[in-house]
Amino acid sequence: MHKEFTEDDLDQGRHQRARQRLTDPAAPPLLLATCLVIAQVVSSDVLAWATFAGLAGYSLSGSV
């Protein structure tokens, strides 16, 4: 038996994959690492500290 997929099914699958990529647990550290590079480029100490602190906060993910 082959299940036939409609355009809607495929769209839904694409959306789900896009959502999963954007909300992967690895995404926030990647974003923060990018911010850290930007902080270095623009020589912003405040951004560098905030970014490092963000990583420190995120490193506690999974603990309450």
Partner: protein, 190 residues
């Protein structure tokens, strides 16, 4: 572990999460303010001594997060009591966020927050830097429930987090050393 009744509340989840995040930022700012006050005591310590101390702490934190050493770091070895969640959800979300945001109320499974606190105490004499550290910590801590919520798939997200544990530890270790090198370099230029 991830089943906190606050951010898993089925109704008004987005609103409750926003309050929770606000509480986290307020908690982070409170601890940062305390650390900033203490940092004044370390201002007379020569910059070289502070730099070496922070470098050693960054290496120790990296080794701890990578699991190569196992130091018993000071922490409140208990979870936030369930009685908190018997209150109204709004005040519970704020209080739960605040207590987690201070970093003093429950377990700390990573060494990075200790490194951050040390950095603020040793190099955070500028109040804006201390405030950035406090707010950043709260926002970083809020990222987990916010991204989890946005994923719309709790089981998938929890599983991915488990799979990424090693990657997160490595990121913490590298970021800790890089950031501390930046902090020290910046302090020397000033």
């Amino acid at each position: 572990v991830l089943a906190s009744p606050v951010w898993r509340a089925s109704n008004r989840q987005g609103f409750i999460l926003t309050l929770f995040a606000a509480g986290l930022v307020a908690g982070g700012l409170t601890t940062a303010t305390g650390a900033w006050l203490v940092s004044g005591l370390f201002q007379p310590v020569p910059l070289t001594v502070r730099s070496v101390a922070l470098f050693v702490l960054a290496v120790v934190a990296a080794l701890q997060d990578l699991g190569w050493i196992h130091l018993a770091l000071p922490q409140a070895s208990r979870q936030i009591p369930q009685t908190l969640f018997r209150r109204r959800l709004v005040s519970a979300a704020l209080q739960f966020g605040f207590e987690l945001g201070t970093g003093l109320r429950t377990y700390l499974p990573s060494a990075l927050p200790y490194l951050l606190l040390s950095a603020v105490i040793l190099f955070g004499q500028n109040p804006w830097l201390a405030a950035a550290a406090g707010a950043g910590f709260g926002l970083g801590r809020a990222m987990m429930p916010l991204v989890w919520y946005a994923s719309k798939s709790a089981e998938w997200w929890d599983k991915q987090l488990m799979l990424r544990t090693r990657y997160l530890a490595l990121t913490s270790a590298v970021a800790g050393i890089v950031c501390m090198a930046t902090v020290v370099a910046s302090a020397m230029v000033r």
